[in-house]
Amino acid sequence: MKGMNRTVVVLGGTALIAFTAVGGAALRDWVDLGRRAEAEMPNFSGVGLVASTDANGASYTAGDYFYQLMRLLKREYVEPIPDDQKLASGAIRSMIGSLNDPKAMFLDKKQFASFQNARAGKYEGIGVEVVMVMRGAANKQAAKASDSEGALPEGTAEEALVSRVRVPRLMVSNVIPGSPAAKAGVKIGDVAYEIDSHWVVNTDLLIKFQKAQDDFKAKKITYSQLNLVRKEVRERTERALLPMRAMERLVTGTSGKVKVVWERGTEKRTTDLTKSVTAMSPMTVLPNGDLRLAFQKGADAWIAKELQGKTKVRIDLRNNTHGDFESLKAVLEKVAPKGTYGQFVTARGSEPTNLVVAKGNPAAPKYELLVDSSTRGVAEMFALALQSKGKATLVGSLTGGDRTLVDIVPLPDGSGYVLPIGEYQVNVTSTKVVMADKTEEVR
């Protein structure tokens, strides 16, 4: 009787334990699958991503997809993976790259650090800022302003070629006064052609090569002529720098030499430069009483203080290329009366967003704004906004033509990215810039 009892207990216990194991597995199912709405776990089954119970595979988030693929790698990849955040940065880098937009940039740790330094007024490298400029259709709008590299005529064979291979060129958008580049005579609009004997990849050579190939097929040129082009391509690409790497050589580092060949129109100029740090205090009262304004945290309080008791204020917006949008809005609240100052549009089909000054400064002084082609981005928007309401006169030369609003996003591993989120538009019938001796009308 006792033995019988024992057997029952043992059997019962074993059954219970087995039941608990099944229960544990069920609990896991519940965690992984049942609570999906809350945890948004994908319906991946046992062997990671290998099997699926979800036919269309559309009901989980990109993050979950990433997570599962990351786990697959950690389990199967030949070497251990030391840094998970690097995987995320790699994925983001590639997403940004897939946009094929010269204004969307992924910056690695080193590049992002110097980018942030530049925003704080410490310019590394040779003391320039550069932008990526695409030839052809994407650049047509910008071509009207000073970014112009000459938009290609529509529908030409060349344009068709460009759309097949799109590599932007690296153009100087700002030269910091007193920097090695300024001393060597580098100018806004110069295009980096060769850096330390490395050719900076751009579309031109590829177009030339494809054209030569087409011409050869059409028997317009001989084999040896084609070979000359081929040889040029080969020699150049053997020592080539992609635009982001080229940019890094110009704007990072605080010591060492760099030799740059610049293209200015059809002319080529060679400069030997020594890298250093060029400081340019972002927010300051200049010796002549002009204000230099940087669109960053604290700018609104600073400008409010400087405006006190003044009826006419001159603000120097030259060499002003980076700024954040929040700061622009805050500054406008202090310097402009309330109203709507233009709008932001996107190509998403969403409604434009107005740039609104809610309370504003009813006792705002008159402004004279010093601008030139190094007035870009938020600074340019600021100038156009004030001018559109007759609050400011622009003095100098044409602004840079960059009215793209961007988000600057830092990532945990020190890298970061820049994402265009809208274009600024303002209702003015003409953009007037008072030149030293004349008024130029532009539209």
């Binding site: 896991r28 046992g46 991503l49």
Partner: protein
């Protein structure tokens, strides 16, 4: 007291069983317990910095919903996954979005049927650049340098070669009619040819009478390659050569066992390659013990950046056992084994799971930067020579192929010593 212990033991057993059940999914897949699932169960919010998947998801959302242009969610995700895999800096760990995954599997299981000829451009149509001796076109009378001027009665003059190839290829067992112009014949010939599965020859040989050097080009390592290699070696040997050039240029590799078999002609019972993977996975491939041929002459292996995988093992093993001199440029640097993992949405991930090491212990793995540009890797040649493209080189023709010239020169120099 005893009963107490029993209860405790029971509780422990039950708890372990429960945990085992919970973690079974992870253990089955060979990894540790998924902390994310545990945290989710216990309601623990990750207090530390954002996890990689959160960072990724945030950026994904930012681009999808805030970027000034519309993006297709799938394209964005595919780009992300490609970047995730390429961030490892391994050119062979790749992500294939659903469509590409399908093409990839078609390509590797490839069922292409044709007539057994390689075609090139010609003003009148397409020219037969090579006709495989075992193929149906050869049997029907097609010979090298014949010009195909019509396919199934349709004139092909002026058509791109690729398009003509598509006309000629078709289902196995069906027929295609070619109208062929032969040199020295007034009238074109018509041939009706039955399409068949084509096995292209992987080994071709030549003998250069002026230098008395044999030449064997191996285009890949497939099932029949060893047999073809032996046959071509016999052909060359009958000419009593002063030396032999084995051309591995543009050979992308293939079956490792075949490379090992071919190496057995040079070295007996020696390590060919070691494969090492995660978690102690270890495998050594050796050459066979009694298949060595007596090579009474020096051997040079010609390689270039398109020599990869099994081709590099072949060249590297001969180098390591002093059986051949390497001439050309550095090879590709493929020293790893991949596995393709199908993913839920019919996309797939090709992941490197193990590495090869040559007998000398060398890892020849290709290193690239994040833009995919070559930094280092591959076998280094003892005699470096770049192909001179300006001579319009034809591989295997010593008159225009300067790398081959160098190889012949090298092998003759060794023959004199």
């Amino acid at each position: 007291m005893k009963t107490g212990i029993k209860y405790v033991a029971f509780a422990v057993a039950a708890l372990s069983a429960g945990s085992l059940g919970f973690a079974w999914r992870d253990l089955q897949s060979g990894s540790g317990v998924d902390s994310r699932a545990v945290n989710s169960l216990l309601g623990v919010k990750n207090a530390k910095a954002a996890s990689p998947e959160q960072v990724f998801q945030q950026a994904y959302n930012q681009i999808r919903f805030k970027y000034s242009r519309q993006v297709k969610p799938d394209d964005l995700r595919f780009a992300g996954m490609q970047g995730l895999l390429s961030s490892l800096g391994d050119p062979h760990t790749l992500y294939f979005p659903p469509r590409a995954a399908q093409l990839f599997s078609e390509e590797t299981t490839g069922n292409f049927f044709g007539v057994g000829a390689r075609l090139s451009d010609d003003a009148m149509g397409v020219r037969a650049a090579a006709v495989f001796e075992d193929g149906p076109a050869y049997a029907a009378g097609l010979r090298i340098n014949d010009v195909i001027i019509a396919v199934d009665g349709k004139k092909v003059g002026g058509m791109p070669t690729d398009a003509v190839v598509l006309l000629i290829k078709g289902k196995e067992g069906t027929f295609v009619t070619l109208t062929v112009a032969k040199k020295g014949k007034q009238q074109p010939v018509t041939m009706k040819i039955k399409r068949a599965r084509i096995v292209a020859p992987t080994v071709e040989s030549k003998f250069f009478e002026d230098s008395k050097v044999g030449y064997i080009a191996v285009s890949q390592f497939a099932e029949p390659t060893t047999m073809q290699f032996d046959r071509e070696l016999d052909k060359v040997d009958r000419k009593s050569p002063k030396g032999l050039v084995i051309d591995m240029r543009s050979n992308p590799g293939g079956l490792l066992d075949v490379a090992a078999d071919m190496l057995s002609r040079f070295v007996a019972d020696k390590v060919v390659v070691k494969m090492v993977g995660r978690n102690g996975f270890n495998e050594t491939v050796r050459s066979a013990s009694n298949e060595v041929r007596p090579f009474g002459y020096p051997v040079v292996v010609l390689m270039d950046e398109n020599s990869a995988s099994a081709a590099e093992i072949f060249a590297g093993v001969l180098r390591d056992y002093n059986k051949a001199t390497l001439v050309g440029t550095h090879s590709y640097g493929k020293s790893s084994v991949q596995n393709v993992f199908p993913l839920v949405d019919k996309s797939s991930a090709k992941v490197t799971i193990a590495k090869y090491y040559l007998p000398s212990g060398d890892d020849i793995g290709r290193k690239v930067d994040q833009d995919g540009i070559y930094i280092d890797g591959g076998l280094k040649p003892s005699v470096a020579v770049e192909l001179d493209l300006d001579k319009d080189p034809e591989f295997g023709n010593p008159k225009s192929d300067n790398q081959l010239q160098k190889a012949i020169e090298t092998v003759l120099k060794q023959a004199r010593n």
